[in-house]
């Protein structure tokens, strides 16, 4: 604070409080809606304070699911989301770590070609190559499977670049020392590089977990089997119910359940999350 201007302090806090209210209000409404019986949400104005059906609604969602999605329990969808998110995260980190290692610590023919191939993936999001990618996955027989949900998404230019940048800052003396001690490249990777990369891996893990959990288009395309629905994608079936009305209290409960895991990850690991976000975009 450079000078003392009381009104400026008031404006500052007012701005922040308004901002927080704007960001939290939709979730508040969803949370409130999910604790009421269906009839309470059939006419306007809808309640702004919690009802008494919260436990029943969530218990019903977790064990039986919403009738709009033919009896798939949300616990199943949450589990599928979890497997997909972890699979994508671990897969991306693993293959990016080793390819960045190869590109930084080895000299071999076509090294730069590989580097550019990885770079190109940045420019080809799923959304622009929907149909042909779907065809490839279909012809490999990977529709309706966890491997189909995970493997096509695990290439990562961002993670590879991040690890490459980080490896480049590691002093060469470490390699020399390792060589004098007769440690081979694999030993060097396991015993020196990997422990040094721990913080970076953890920060990236958070960002990628959120990315994986929040996937929508991809699971929507390749899962027709309801037992493989992920929760973020499954909610769409509860909203688009054709002529009928969505069962709002259950749909909002689903929305809350779908956002809780990634939000907890962000809040619990705030510091690492900010580091991961800012660095992976550089």
């Amino acid at each position: 604070m450079v000078e003392n201007r009381p009104w400026l302090g008031v404006v500052t806090h007012a701005t922040l409080i308004l901002g927080v209210a704007f960001l939290c209000f939709p979730v508040w409404m969803a949370l409130v809606a999910s604790t009421h019986p269906g009839e309470a949400l059939s006419r306007s104005p809808i309640p702004l304070w919690f009802g008494d059906q919260g436990w029943e609604n969530y218990a019903q969602l977790l064990t039986e699911g919403s009738p709009a999605v033919g009896g798939v329990a949300l616990s199943t969808m949450l589990w599928n989301s979890f497997i997909m998110a972890i699979g994508i995260t671990v897969g991306k980190i693993a293959i990016s770590l080793i390819s960045a290692y190869a590109i930084v610590y080895f000299r071999f023919p076509f090294r730069m070609l590989f580097f550019w191939l990885i770079f190109i993936t940045l420019m080809l999001p799923v959304e622009v190559r929907i149909l042909p990618t779907y065809d490839v996955v279909a012809s490999l027989g990977m529709l309706n499977s966890y491997s189909g949900l995970i493997i096509p998404l695990i290439a990562s230019a961002t993670a590879t670049f991040l690890f490459r940048q980080f490896f480049l800052t590691i002093p060469d003396e470490l390699v020399e020392a390792a060589r004098i001690d007769r440690a081979g490249p694999i030993r060097f990777f396991w015993d020196i590089l990997l422990p040094l990369s721990k913080t970076n891996i953890a920060a990236l893990f958070i960002i990628l977990f959120i990315y994986g959990w929040n996937q929508y288009l991809w699971p929507f395309l390749i899962t027709t089997d309801q037992d493989l629905y992920t929760i973020v994608m499954g909610i769409q079936r509860m909203v688009n119910v054709g002529e009928g009305l969505p069962i709002w209290h259950l749909t909002m409960g689903t929305a809350i359940l779908a956002m809780v895991p990634p939000v907890i990850v962000v809040l619990a690991m705030q510091r690492l999350f900010v580091k991961g976000l800012v660095e992976s975009e550089k």
């Binding site: 901002g19 080793i98 080895f106 149909l131 959990w213 976000l277």
Partner: protein
């Protein structure tokens, strides 16, 4: 930058890059090539035969008023989302940078929506704005007598998805603006204050110009987000409707290919979108080489 010291091994590096390269070739490069190839053919309805037609798919595309309208919709959508979320995030970041007390609490409450999936952001606002029981629609009606119905009114539907998309992106922009603001030298601000510059003036003549690298970076990132990552918002709520009013380009690729089964046109649209991403990525990397500076 290159390492001076490296390992020698004729097979290990290939084994190490292999997983990434295989996934890239099979699921990225090959499909992209397929889209490029398909965009020059017209396939019959059953996929038995296809004819090379040159640029006809593209010509057909750009003479289709529906597609041109999608271009406009996308532009309006992208610019509105970018402007809304960036300006709100900047105001919040400036405020958060000023407060001393409870700064962490504010930050915590401002960053969590980053973790909310775009699809869910869409669903939340869809519920809030539902014409018959949404709280926003209710307030508009009872306070201003404004009739909100995004099922019928295309502009209102577009406004709804813009708000949902901007809402979700504020946290992201906030974090980057806050990091940018924290690197503005305190001494400059103090010098200006001693010279009698008011807080507003200090912001516009010192802080805002110094933020320009962050602002420019966020501009590109937000446009990419609005153009590509918002598919879920549209698909989960309006499905492009009413009457194509919210059918942005990424949604159209999907609806032409999967719903309309017009593969040639969908492929041509993919190629147009690829050109768009390549252009934006290029701008972004050019900028990283030579930062915008004053």
């Amino acid at each position: 930058m290159e390492k001076r010291v490296f390992f020698r091994n004729w097979w290990l590096p290939y084994a190490l890059v292999a997983p990434q390269i295989i996934v890239t070739l099979v699921f990225f490069i090959w499909p992209a090539y397929q889209a490029l190839e398909m965009s020059f053919f017209i396939e019959d309805a059953f996929g038995f035969s296809r004819n090379f037609v040159g640029f006809e798919n593209f010509i057909r595309l750009f003479s289709d008023p529906g597609y041109l309208r999608s271009f406009w919709t996308t532009l309006v959508f992208g610019l509105a989302v970018t402007f809304l979320s960036m300006s709100m995030a900047l105001a919040l970041a400036v405020a958060a940078n000023r407060v001393v007390r409870s700064a962490t609490t504010y930050r915590t409450f401002l960053i969590w929506p980053y973790a909310v999936a775009p699809a869910l952001a869409g669903v939340l606002w869809f519920f809030m704005m539902n014409p018959s029981l949404g709280i926003v629609a209710y307030m508009l009606e009872s306070i201003w007598g404004y009739d909100w119905n995004h099922y019928i009114n295309g502009n209102q539907a577009l406004m709804m998805v813009i708000i949902a998309a901007a809402w979700k992106q504020i946290s992201y922009n906030f974090l980057f603006f806050l990091a940018g603001l924290q690197s503005v030298p305190k001494s400059m601000i103090e010098a200006a204050a001693i010279d009698g510059a008011s807080p507003t003036r200090r912001f516009w003549t010192i802080v805002f110009p110094l933020l320009s690298p962050t602002t420019f970076f966020l501009l590109v990132v937000n446009l990419v987000y609005a153009f590509f990552d918002t598919f879920a918002i549209i698909h989960a709520t309006t499905s492009g409707g009413p009457a194509d009013a919210t059918s942005i380009l990424v949604y159209r690729v999907y609806s032409t290919g999967f719903v309309g089964q017009d593969y040639g046109s969908s492929a041509a649209q993919s190629v147009v979108l690829m050109a768009l991403v390549i252009g934006l990525t290029f701008v972004q990397f050019r900028y990283i080489e030579r930062r915008v500076q004053y």
